[in-house]
């Protein structure tokens, strides 16, 4: 689409609207509703080395203009992905970005190595919202140094573009973005979910099967836009914005704040056509405002 093409960290996309990890599976179920070839890119559900069962239900609870989820990285592991999921995605022209997570930097590196051989995979997104079992369960995303180390290890194992996906549950998003950049990341994406909780006053228990869950949806958009803006001031590598994007206008806010592309997450649940509609809405905005290319908007918010 004219004015919407991009090359992000070396990944060619026909538009800057991707689907976010965990909200689109591995494309197969969603393909019954969505024309996959119209997407900018497909980011897979997080893949781990070994299969994971995930957390006990309930895994979803709705909150005001948002939702908490505690899926907990349920997936069948990297082998199943490569053998049974990737062939389906390989049939489409849309680039596939594999989202990975591990309990140690070594696991991430191993995953990256395996994916490096798969020509259908065009990029790797590193989900660092995962506890670092080596460091005693401390989350990678809370620790700039551990994150940097992780990125460096992964960098050695793959020539694929590396996108580091940041968590918003931290004090200084700019600092961790810089660390990721310095360690060799090709792009960063943000934000993952905000850590939240909901308690059932009848049962006195969590309304999820786990005590806490991840908050997503329109409720978190203002936080996401702010963090994209902060990160954009700090790094030169492209930023992929994510968090509560429901409309083309929302996407435009992220571009103006400094995002080079965006991901649509929770919106997929509300409207299966969300990514395609959002792409159209961006196109219409460009036409109405006589803007040749959406890139003219990146980071162009008039903010001090």
């Amino acid at each position: 689409m004219a004015g919407l093409e991009l090359e992000l960290a070396g990944i060619k996309m026909k538009n800057p609207v991707m689907v976010a990890s965990g909200t689109f599976g591995y494309g197969e179920e969603a393909s019954k509703f969505v024309e996959l070839d119209k997407l900018g890119a497909i980011v897979t559900k997080t893949i781990t080395l070994e299969p994971r069962e995930g957390n006990p239900p309930p895994r979803i609870v709705e909150t005001a203009s948002g939702m908490l989820n505690s899926i907990g990285l349920q997936n069948k592991g990297i082998k199943d992905f490569i053998e049974n999921r990737l062939p389906f995605l390989a049939k489409y022209k849309t680039p596939v970005i594999a989202n990975i997570a591990g309990d140690s930097a070594k696991e991430y590196a191993e995953l990256a190595k395996m994916l490096n051989k798969e020509s259908a995979v065009k990029g790797i997104e590193i989900n660092i919202s995962c506890p670092n079992v080596v460091k005693g369960g401390m989350f990678f995303c809370f620790d700039p140094k551990a994150t940097a180390e992780l990125v460096r290890l992964v960098r050695k194992q793959t020539s694929l573009p590396i996108i580091v996906k940041l968590s918003p549950n931290i004090t200084d998003i700019a600092a961790i973005a810089k660390e990721a950049e310095a360690a060799g990341a090709d792009a960063i994406s943000l934000i993952n979910t905000l850590l939240g909780m909901a308690i059932d006053t009848k049962t006195r228990n969590s309304r999820l099967g786990s005590p806490t869950g991840g908050l997503s949806g329109p409720a978190i958009k203002p936080v996401a836009v702010r963090m994209v803006w902060q990160a954009a001031q700090a790094v030169k590598i492209p930023i992929i914005g994510c968090g509560g994007i429901m409309t083309g206008k929302d996407a435009l806010e992220f571009f103006l704040a400094g995002a080079s592309a965006i991901q649509v997450g929770t919106a997929n649940f509300v409207d299966t056509q969300a990514p395609i509609r959002i792409t159209e809405e961006i196109k219409n905005y460009l036409a109405e405002n006589k803007i040749g290319c959406y890139k003219e908007l990146i980071g162009k918010a008039l903010l001090t």
Partner: protein, 263 residues
């Protein structure tokens, strides 16, 4: 295949206090819907409530289908305000419904509370396919009884029980089930029989237990909180003997022996 479609409201009425029947136009959905399948409905245009809400397909006609629902919260509250002529965003038909086994000539449909919703379409579908249909309806009290007459139009064997005894037998659906199995159907016919159940989890568990003891086939329609409704988010899982399975996609109807019944 399923579709996301704006369906026009053809009819919408309160059939009992806080219970509504909603008739939606869609030749696509009505021509494909199978008993036990559901639709995922957008109840609000704003972001609160945000997610769609799942409702069983209650009945279908050539060009339209019906939902039967109870107002229990924000989503159903907003849905209940939709007027005739307006359009509602619907995703469907979704999920894997009741499997009809040609060999089972005696069908026992057990519905608790709103669980009757998918059973009417099932009963109407089974009508010409089996020899006998027993419909067991349970609810708290008489005022919450739904669809009795609709079921009576399909079969003579409609057995109502209420928790408080205000109508029909006092007791649970599972009590009625035991009676029907023991007294009416009888041991000889159990292998020809099948139970289809929908309702609250404790009821389903009780029925699954009975079916297990009696060695009679049993399919249960499960409920779980959903986000996507189409199998992408992994939000709606139930524990089965093969690990977590998705209610929206692998279910909502499961063989009762598959489910690991927890409390």
């Amino acid at each position: 295949m399923s579709i996301q479609e704006k369906c026009r409201v053809l009819d919408h009425k309160e059939v009992a206090p806080k219970h509504y029947k909603l008739t939606l136009f869609s030749s696509y959905i009505s021509s494909r819907a199978e008993p036990g399948q559901f639709v995922n409905v957008r109840c609000s245009q704003e972001y609160d409530p945000l997610l769609r809400r799942p409702f069983s397909i209650h009945r279908v006609s050539k060009d339209y289908f019906e939902l039967l629902y109870e107002v229990v919260g924000k989503g159903t509250e907003q849905l209940s305000k939709q007027t005739i002529g307006s359009e509602i965003d619907v995703l469907g038909p979704l999920g894997s419904g009741f499997k009809i086994d040609g060999k089972k000539q005696i069908a026992i449909l057990a519905g608790g509370g709103m669980g009757v919703a998918p059973l009417l379409l099932l009963a109407e579908t089974l009508k010409d396919k089996v020899k006998a249909i027993y419909v067991l309806i349970g609810c708290n009290c008489k005022s919450r009884l739904l669809c009795e007459q609709d079921f009576k139009n399909v079969t003579d064997q409609v057995l109502v029980s209420t928790d408080d005894g205000s109508y029909g037998k006092k007791g649970f659906v599972s009590d009625t089930l035991l009676e029907v199995l023991n007294d009416t159907i009888g041991a000889r016919n159990l292998s020809q029989s099948i139970i289809y159940a929908c309702g609250p989890k404790p009821m389903l568990k009780a029925i699954a237990d009975i079916s297990f003891q009696k060695k009679i086939d049993c399919q249960v329609s499960m409920e779980e909180r959903m986000a996507c409704g189409i199998g992408t988010c992994l939000g709606c899982v139930v524990k089965t003997k093969d690990g977590y399975k998705k209610v929206c996609d692998d279910g909502p109807v499961f063989d009762s022996k598959e489910i690991i019944w927890q409390d």
